[in-house]
Symmetry: C2
DNA sequence: ATCTTCCTCCCCAGAAACTGCGAGGGCGGG
DNA sequence: CCCGCCCTCGCAGTTTCTGGGGAGGAAGAT
C-alpha cells in the first residue's frame, strides 16, 4: 500500500465494519484503514455529552495526554466541527488564541501530523463523534488527498459510527426516556429565556402545572436543577433553541 | 432512466448540488433524482423540533395536507428515524397504534407509495432532516433496490442537507462574542448541574465572583437568565457538556 | 377492564438566584 | 500613559425556584 492511496476496497471495509461485533474489531479496522490509506493516524472519537469520551485510533499516548489535560474543552477541531456539518480541513479552523496554538504545538510534539481532516457525525440523542485523519505533509498534497477521498471517507465515517453506536456499552438507559410534548414545550420556553410565569402564560396553563412538567423533565433527564435539565435536553437534541 | 435504476451519474448530481445557490435549484435536483431513479417520490424534509418545517420534494398536495393536519407529531417515520442513526425501511417502523395506521391509510390515499426508505440526517444545533424515497411496488423489489443504492443515497442525502443548511435563510450567525476562560468554566459547571456555591467552590473562588462571571456571560450572550445563557452557550458551541 | 402515562390544578415554606450598589489589582494595546 | 478587559471580593433586598404534600380526568396500551 503506497503513500496516501485512495480508500482501498471500500466495499470490503464496510462489510468488515458491518460484521464487527466488538469494539476491539473497530480498533483493528481503523488500523487497517490507516495502513491502507498511508496516513499517519486515523482516529474515531466519541464526544459524549456528559464529558466522558470513547475513542479508538492510532494516536497512542497522545490520546491519554489529551484526556488527562482536558484538551476536549479547548480543541479547535472539536469546537469547529461541532458547529459544522461538512468535513473540515484543520487549516480552515480558527487557530488564533493562545490556548489553541499551545494545544497545536503540544499535539505536533506528540506525533500528531501537521495536517488533519475531521468528519463530524451526529446520532440520536445529541450524540456527536469525530472521524479524523492526520498526516505529515505539505498543504497541496493533503488538499488533493482529502478531495479525492472525501466521499468515501464520509461513508466510512458514517458506517463506523453506526457500528460504534451499536456496540457502545454506555448507552445511557435514561437517555432513552423521551420527554412528553408538554414537557418539551415547557423546556423549550425555559431554554429561550422565559421564566416559569411567562412560560406558563405562553402555554395557557397555570404556573403550577408548568412546574410539574419541568420537575418531570428534570427527573427524566436525571438533572439536578432546571438549568441542568435544559442543558441536558439540548445536548441530547430533545429540544432546539 | 428506467424503472428504479441505480443512482445514476452520482458525480454529476453531487456537483450540481454543490453548485446550487438557491432553494429552487434543490427542487429541480430532487425532481431529476426522482426521474432518474424511477421512483414515485423523493422528498427532503427539514424537521425543526419547534414545529416549523421546510421541505422540498414531489409529494405535491400531500405535503400541504401533512402540514395542515399536523402529521409531524404522529408520523411514525419521523418518530422512528429520530431515534435511529441508519437509514430505515418503512416496514421496520412501528405502525401499531390507531393514529399511525390512520396516517398510513391517508398517506397512501394521497399518492404516497406503499414502500418507503428514509435517511435521517443531523446537523449542528440539533438540526434534523429526513431524505425519503417512496414508491409503489412489492417488498422484494423494494428491498433489492434500497440495498443496491443505500450507500449512494446516504451520500446524496448528506450533500443535499449540506446545501440546504447553506441556503437556509434562517441562518443568522449571531456575532459569537467569545466568553472569557473563567466565564466558560463557570457556565460549564452550571450546565452540568452545579449550583453557584458548588461551582464557586470547584473553581476556588467566592460565590460572588462566580456570579460576576455568570452575569458577564449572560450579558455577552444577550440572555435573560442563567438558564437562557447556558442554553445559548450550548447552542453556539461555546461550551461543551 | 384495568393500568399506566399524561395533563391539569392547588398550598406552603425554605432555599437559591437575581438586581443593584461598589471596589481594587493585573495585563495588554493604542 | 490611559483605556478596556479580566479576575477577585462584599452587602442587602426582592424575586424566583425547589421540594414536599394531594387530586381528578382523559387517552392509550395490555
Amino acid at each position: 500500500m503506497g503513500f496516501m492511496a485512495n480508500v482501498p476496497r471500500l466495499d470490503g471495509l464496510i462489510e468488515r465494519l458491518e460484521s464487527a461485533d466488538a469494539l476491539d474489531d473497530l480498533q483493528g479496522i481503523i488500523e487497517e484503514l490507516r495502513d491502507d490509506l498511508g496516513v499517519d493516524h486515523v482516529v474515531y472519537h466519541w464526544v459524549n455529552s456528559n464529558g466522558q469520551q470513547y475513542g479508538c485510533g492510532t494516536y497512542g499516548d497522545w490520546a491519554v495526554r489529551y484526556a488527562e489535560k482536558g484538551y476536549l474543552r479547548i480543541d479547535p477541531v472539536v469546537q469547529g466541527c461541532f458547529q459544522r456539518f461538512h468535513p473540515v480541513d484543520w487549516k480552515r479552523l480558527d487557530w488564533s488564541g493562545k490556548a489553541a496554538r499551545a494545544f497545536l504545538r503540544d499535539a505536533i510534539e506528540h506525533g500528531v501530523g501537521n495536517q488533519g481532516f475531521s468528519i463530524p457525525i451526529r446520532g440520536p440523542n445529541g450524540q456527536f463523534a469525530l472521524f479524523t485523519l492526520s498526516h505529515n505533509c505539505d498543504d497541496d498534497t493533503w488538499e488533493a488527498f482529502t478531495e479525492d477521498n472525501r466521499r468515501d471517507l464520509i461513508l466510512v465515517a458514517h458506517y463506523f459510527n453506526q457500528k460504534a453506536l451499536e456496540l457502545e456499552p454506555g448507552r445511557t438507559p435514561e437517555a432513552a426516556q423521551p420527554l412528553s410534548p408538554r414537557e418539551i414545550e415547557a423546556m423549550t420556553l425555559l431554554a429561550v429565556g422565559y421564566n416559569r410565569a411567562q412560560a406558563a402564560d405562553t402555554l395557557s396553563i397555570s404556573e403550577h402545572t408548568l412546574r410539574v412538567y419541568v420537575e418531570s423533565a428534570r427527573f427524566k433527564l436525571g438533572a439536578m436543577n432546571t438549568t441542568h435539565a435544559v442543558a441536558r435536553a439540548l445536548s441530547r437534541g430533545l429540544i432546539v433553541v
